[in-house]
């Protein structure tokens, strides 16, 4: 029909009121929260993270998602390791291609493929 399906095409001009006092208030609280979590590190005695990367995942992982048209831009499929109790879980997630470690990994993979 007549092209009225595209809700995203609607252009709305909105004005947003600024509430500087509330903004500053939030700013202060936010910094405090961050500060506390950074400082918390010093007192905690945590074991060093030294787990190996599970090898079995290497084949399970899809290398690249090529979605140049998506609104997020280029994306690469990564596996996120999580734990549920003591059970390890692996989930696929799409990461933007422009994150520095994604670029690194990608370059390495390409180099390996050329070898």
């Amino acid at each position: 029909d007549g092209g009225i399906d595209d809700d995203e095409a609607v252009i709305v001009h909105m004005q947003h009121d600024v509430d500087e006092e509330a903004d500053e208030d939030f700013e202060r609280e936010f910094s405090r929260m961050m500060q506390e979590s950074v400082e918390g590190r010093r007192t905690d005695r945590k074991s060093v993270f030294d787990a190996p990367v599970p090898t079995r995942l290497k084949t399970a992982t899809a290398p690249l998602i090529d979605k140049p048209d998506s609104e997020e831009g280029d994306q690469v499929a990564f596996t996120l390791l999580t734990k549920k109790g003591n059970k390890q879980q692996a989930r696929t997630m799409a990461l933007p291609a422009d994150i520095s470690f994604v670029i690194n990994t990608r370059n390495k993979q390409e180099a390996e493929q050329e070898e």
């Binding site: 609607v10 590190r41 470690f101």
Partner: protein
Amino acid sequence: GLDDGFDDQVKDLPEHACKYCGIHNPCSVVECLACNKWFCNARLASNRGSHIIQHLVRARHKDVRLHPESPLGETILECYNCGVRNVFNLGFIPAKSDTVVVLLCRACSNPMGQKDMSWDLSQWLPLIEDRSFLSWLVKIPSEHEQLRARHIVPSQIASLEDRWMEDSNATVDDLNKPGVDDEPEPVRLAYDDAYHYQNIFGPLMKMEADYDKKMKESQTQDEVVVRWDQGLNKKRLACFVLPKLELGDVRLAVGDELLLRYKGELIKGSWEGHGHVIKIPNNEVVLELKKDERTPTHCTHNFTVDFVWKATSFDRMQAAMKTFAVDQNSVSAYIYHRLLGHDVEPQTLKITMPKRFTAPNLPDLNHSQVFAVKSVLQKPLSLIQGPPGTGKTVTSATIVYHLARMNAGQVLVCAPSNVAVDQLTEKIHQTGLKVVRVTAKSREALESPVSFLTLHDQVINNDTDPELQKYVKLKREYGELSSQDEKRYRSLKRNAEREIIQNADVVCCTCVGAGDPRLQKYDFRTVLIDEATQAAEPECLIPLVMGAKQVVFVGDHKQLGPVILNKKAAKAGLSQSLFERLVLLNVRPIRLQVQYRMHPCLSEFPSNMFYEGSLQNGVTVQERLRKDVVFPWPVPETPMFFHCSYGQEELSSSGTSYLNRTEATNCEKVVTRLLKAGVKPSQIGIVTPYEGQRSYIVSHMQFAGALKKELYKEIEVASVDAFQGREKDYIILTCVRSNDHSGIGFTSDPRRLNVALTRAKYGIVVLGNPKVLSQNALWYQLLMQFKERNCLVEGPLSNMKRSMIQLIRPKTKKE
């Protein structure tokens, strides 16, 4: 029958909706594990951070969980190594040579002491960036989604967080709730969002509902005398006169429910029966009883009548406002923002214009009508202003014809009143489209010109299902079915209803009727609302929130608006229609400009006063002169006059209305003259703004009229409001107000005057006190026009003389 309303569905936000703004896309929300509330990752135009971050910071909560339906599934964000859950302390760590990541806290990602070199700890990437979650972990809602959500401001967030300390279930709406004795908040021109809209209109509509309920329920009438009758459908009818109705103390409409009770010596115990009003000819109420069990038809006296108030229509309005806010698919984004008065770039629909604009079997359109049809078809939202007699119904039907041909789904056609819906239904049916008229169950027994198009009748006459036919017959013969059969009958009926609606091109119902449970499963993308200026905003919303993408409002904001009984609510703006608000928001109505009703001398004043002189006459003087009717018009070419009289007004016996005996006497004389000249009673209308005068005239004409009583009985005497949308050959307007100081009340509303003056085709007689009326600026202008045309007269009808009264221009009030 079944009552409507009991299974109306009210849409609610899901549990996982952001407690601040209502966004509920599972990819965009997370749950705070400390308080089990959900928040989104939206950050509407600010550097304050997203809603979830604002909550975590203000409430000092730290742990969150992703939604089960998000890409990562139900996941608690915690350190892979030590299990710490503080999101302010977490980040992603990639493997050195693989596409694998884990979440680690800051402490665990310290590279000191690391032996295995498979993780690149130097690349730690915090979860929170720029005061929101990484967008690829928790999606940031689109700008469009954010615009459509509730617009909460930081101060509201702060107060809400404060409230949650005491009451964990508090909502944003609770922040805005007015105290019991507070004045209602007035309507606005524009609203931040649909929640804001609901927060304004919800309480106003509730005030109106409470008032209506109180009024209705306090109107018990004792000592009613009943005459028993039987309808064509064999149902029991009770006929009676209600003095309260005659006095104008209460409003009663066809379809309303009444409770009739008997408590007397003629039967043992007591009896009561519910029924619906099916007609009110000359103030006699005809009530069709729902059941005819032990009906004391041998009794006639000692009955009591109670008014039964129904919440249905108000409930549907409230539900529509809620749906408007909560359901993203209720209306298109464009319609959403336009209705709320936001600044939206205009849209034009890409459509193929029909070659011919006139619809089959409807009259050819004039220039301004064609223009209206053309513009409407290519716009998602339009207003058509139809001044009196300009062919609003034909234009609307033509538009609906084209819309139905151009679009796949059914067109929904509504109006606030049943009369208007029926008229439009009939015209649309003429074009050959498949039309179904959905009426309230309480109106199914009523006769109307479009009975054969009602869903109810189409189901009954549907001969494709013999089993259904069997039950229909049984029901007709025995009145009731066994519970087993009734169940089967209902299910067959529902199927038949679905089939009929699905096959229709157009569905017609009242605005409130659009909330009928039988229509709730359907989407209506194209909606036309006639008489849109006579509906309160929430009423108009009911048909809109069923998926509207293209909307046409037809009405005339220069004629009467919606009737709001509660004065406070009316004053706060509930009596302003959506159409009118859109006009104030600079949506330009397309005006129909050629009128086909009034003698040109009758259209002149309304055109100049209310339509900037733009009304053209589609009828000639010759077409509107009735030479056969001998009547003492002061100037025969201009069949109108204002008759001056100075008799005092009186308060009516109810104490809430006015009457004027002099004008009533004059009215009877004019009527008698018209009848003697051969005018049929049905072609005469007597218009009065006061109920007191209305009932006085009805009885006075029968008592004092020189001709047969029956003739006078057939003449319609009604309020201006009741005549809106209709016409008569001759109109007599009695103004009633005549006093030295207390003003002209009702009569001063320009829109009411416009309606009163534009009902007549061939002639108008105005009865009033020129001295009193001319104190009003508009009436002064009207009286001057009568005077200039030698039509301001006084004296007996047989010997009227030009009045020599000096009219004094009223002082304009200083602003």
